[in-house]
Amino acid sequence: MQIRVPLSWLREYVDIDVSVDELARLLHMSGTEVDHVERRAWERIWVGRVTKLERHPNADRLTLATVEYGAGRANTVVTGATNLSVGAIVPYAEVGAELIDGGTGDRFRLEPKKVRGIASAGMVCSEKELGLGEDHEGILVLESTLPVGAALADAVGDPILYLELQPNRPDCLGIVGIAREVAALLGHQLRDPATDPLPRAAPRGLDVRIEDAQACPRFAAALLRDVRIAPSPQWLQGRLVAAGMRPIDNVVDITNYVMLELGQPLHAYDHHQVRGGTLVARAARRGETLRTLDQIDRVLPEGALVIADIERSLGLAGILGGEDSEIRSDTTTLALECASFEPRGIGRTATRLGLHGSSGSAAARRFAWELSPDLVPMALARAVRLLREHAGAQVVGVVDRYPSPRSPINVRLRFSDITRVLGMEVMPDETLDVLQRLHFRVAVDGDTLVATPPAIRTDVAIPEDVIEEVARIVGYERLPTRIPDGPLPLHERHPLEEFRERARDVLVGQGLQETVSYALIDPAWLTLLTAEGAPLAPEPLRVTNPTTVTQSVARPTLRASLLDTARRNVRHRESVAIFEIAPVYFPRARDLPEERWIIGVLLAGRAEPLTWLTQPRDFDLYDLQGILEALHRATRFGGRGESIAGGQPGLHPGRSWGTMDKGRVAVVAGQLDPRVAERWDVPEMTFVAEIDLALLYEASQTAQAAVPPRFPPALRDLAVVVDERVAYGDVAREIQATAKELLESLVLLDLYRGPQVGAGKKSFAVRLILRASAGTLSDADVDRVLGRVEGRLGSRLGATLRG
């Protein structure tokens, strides 16, 4: 959570004798994240004094103001403001200064101009024009003691630290908490804010009651009378604005001020609206309604903690007050609530009502962290004092219910534990000094240290917490850099992951670009993968709170992502050759989904460009098969799986194939169904393959060294003439089955159709490379084999050999 700390406000509680940059660095390096430091640039803006005021000769409503801003420096400006008087100290901006437009809020650079015929040399500025607040009614009149001619930034500019706090440090939500950190870092004393002692007597006319002590461990309230509602003093308003809050009236401003100062939210009720004079912390009843301060009628979530009187709820505890009991301009008696709430319940209710987060309730954001119940009396005493000083309030009495007070936590550890955890020694003296600077109570018993955190710290409970305190103040810079030693943990192998990386290398070696796409996709994509719109994959897991519908399901297929990537790239290039290896998510009943790793490949467009050496060529089916072949060969595929008959869903019915292994799809590949291609705006000739990584891995074989053969091979070419319906695969299979281990390889040299073989026939010219491991094959051996091949091709496939 971000808070703003104006440096001047911080200085009220601690002396700061380092530069603001050094202060920011010290805070940041000790664990209080400084997001940035906002500085007033305010270049060419000066502290000026009005020396002369004249009526504009051409306009009744305009004034010519002469402003002196240093020895010998004076200019006359045209202004419409009516709150100027001679002698007033005002901000004066020279031509060239950067200001904020009072109307639009945009930044602009001041240029020379004439107003109704009179030159205006610069400007006197409003609060809004300087970025100090919202007031644009008149010119900002400054303290009369400011030195005329000084740069405005030096005179009143106040750097603001923007701090990003972590929920373990609710004590830092208040500026005093930050001052406590600064005091520890700089070794200075902390000055607590001034408070009034709280009367011990409970007031007549106000009581508090806790119905749920778990949800509300402490509940205090003060009764104050003679309150005069009025605007709060300028300095207080200025601080609220600097810290990012809007001033309202003195009572509301003071509760906000104390919240910003100490981190503890308070809530003020008009006492006349508290029926029965009793504030009750209780669970909301079923169907209970409340009109909250933001003028919304809400049905309260059942069980949410509310603050009520004896009849009805007055507000959502720790989150938002009700409209009924809010402070009005005629309010004279206040019931001021200051309580401690169980943080998870506050967070839950705020989330349910949409009042969570930076746009929600400032109080809820703080109460959702574990504020110390010890802040309650401190904040109340501080508020009582400020209300007395700035709203004339007289405290009648205070009631404070705290049924089970938190007992201080004494953390015991050995000094040697610090070295054990940090790997660096911090001497006991330094350890004690650091902890005391952080207001810990410390006791030493030999090697044992007993550290008691200050009551406002709720985050320190175990030795590691104390060790972190020591380390962060000493500084992590001081930690040495070491390398873990000790026994060697024996590593497991991860064959599937290793195999996956090999597959990546193979595909990269084939000239494919790897892609990584969103694992969350648009559910509409899943209806675009087949011509009929039928799904390809099981119903996906749905994101219940997606950021966008286009990322609202966990993809059950890679194909949509591949097509989307292709579609976006074919707009500006002629060739797309990509692969992605990623899991797809298959839901399972009563379990996490199966995350099944898939290799996806897509080819579209030009396989070869037009160059002086090459003719343009588009990707075809055999490019895709070549890539699968490379994958198989490189991973020593053992040739498992049964082919699935017919075309594959979403692919071209005549140009796709697939295999099954162990009851699931191992490979699906082929040309995309042209109707699907059209839908995705990809070329008609787009080719995809999806391979189940785990099945490919299981079908791969371990490397087995092949010793180079000792005997020469015999090469024979055959022209096998078959009917059109006979596939090359059948021919190859029969040759293989006949020649067996003598066949070293088989190459298809040519595929011929034409007059030489006649209609309805085709001829495969194949080269057989035959080799025996035991000796050189004689011509007679080879002829015998070829004779058998011819016989088998003839009998099984009706093939003839062409001479």
């Binding site: 929920p167 989330t351 380390a471 992590y476 070869e608």
Partner: protein, 352 residues
């Protein structure tokens, strides 16, 4: 016309002619003229040995051999010289244009995220960490509860979660989500193995997040976990500094500062100086003007997390970290906008 002197003169003549022979044909003619079987001058001289008195024959024979050897050696040397010269002429450029463009190639590349994960894995493997992976879809328990982030804990605000609904039925007691970090694998690993443990977990993570130049809703992390009896915060700092050094070669400044995570105590953050503005631009979009790019959150594993998986926190301790892969990839490649990684514009991918 006989005698050793005459043989010497004959040899001198042959040597002089061979040295002047313009080509191999001329050289062959010289060889025939002096050493040819039929009319070679030295062959003829050899035949004359029978006509000499026996006493002169040894000297004549010796001179004859010497002459033949000289001539043969010169002929061989000259022949080689002529062949070399001919070869050289053949190899001498004759209008071959070596500046013509090459045959087109298609070069495949790994995605920068894969490249970066491999580099991360390589370095941490050298430091003794075993790379393991885990599920992207997780139970609330592993992503949060087991890491000391119970329901409604304010630390959950840091992990804006994408929740999942299972078409095969939801279990209200076991909410399913897309892991917001790789840290659930800390718990899974410790549940599976006894200490000592040293693992690296790269993997995809998800957040409910508006995307901009430095934020993505889907991204990758690399988690590290080391548990043993004597592992300290200084070891964590050393491992991460060593990693940074090996990754960036000392070109980046490294910063180690306290931070907060519910599942580590003490906690820390490691940051590298901004590669875009090097700390000089207060409006830098990459580092937000701070000059530093937060690279990983880390710390000593919280004793409560150890206890929950059955490790004895009195005996075992160790560290864990979790960092963003894309941040490193941006630093390593100068990628200015994190969204480029998932856009898969091939013009971008082919530049890396």
């Amino acid at each position: 016309m006989s005698g050793p002197a005459e043989l010497g003169r004959l040899a001198d003549e042959a040597v002089a002619e061979a040295a002047a022979a313009p080509d191999e044909a001329a050289l062959e003619a010289i060889r025939v003229r002096y050493l040819g079987r039929k009319e070679g001058a030295l062959t003829a001289a050899a035949k004359r040995i029978t006509t000499l008195p026996p006493a002169e024959r040894p000297a004549y024979g010796a001179a004859l051999n010497a002459a033949k050897q000289r001539v043969e050696a010169v002929l061989t040397a000259r022949a080689k010289a002529l062949r070399d010269a001919a070869l050289l002429r053949e190899l001498t450029p004759q209008g071959e244009d070596l500046t013509l463009p090459p045959r087109p190639i298609r070069l495949g590349r790994l995605h920068p995220i894969s490249q970066t994960i491999r580099e991360i894995t390589r370095i941490f493997t050298m430091l003794g960490f075993e790379a393991v992976e885990g599920p992207e879809v997780e139970w609330d328990y592993y992503n949060f509860e087991a890491l000391n982030i119970p329901r409604d804990h304010p630390a959950r605000d840091k992990f804006n979660t994408l929740w999942l609904s299972n078409p095969r039925g939801d279990d209200p007691d076991r909410p399913m989500l897309l892991r917001t970090h790789t840290s659930p694998m800390q718990i899974r690993i410790m549940e599976q193995r006894p200490p000592p443990v040293r693992v690296l977990v790269p993997g995809r993570c998800y957040r409910y997040e508006a995307t901009d130049a430095t934020h993505e809703s889907v991204f990758f992390q690399y988690e590290g976990l080391a548990i043993d009896e004597k592992i300290t915060l200084a070891d964590l700092k050393g491992v991460l500094y060593s990693f940074a050094r090996q990754l960036f070669g000392g070109e980046r400044k490294v910063r180690f500062r306290p931070d907060y995570f519910p599942f580590t105590e003490p906690s820390a953050e490691i940051a590298f100086d901004c590669f875009v503005c090097e700390g000089r631009d207060p409006r830098c979009k990459t580092c937000g003007g701070s000059g530093w790019i937060e690279a990983a959150g880390c710390g000593m594993v919280h004793p409560e997390a150890l206890r929950r998986v059955g490790y004895d926190p009195a005996r075992y301790q160790g560290f864990a970290w979790g960092g963003g892969v894309e941040r490193l990839a941006m630093l390593l490649t100068g990628t200015p906008d994190i969204r480029l990684f998932h856009q898969n514009d091939l013009r971008y991918l082919e530049s890396l």
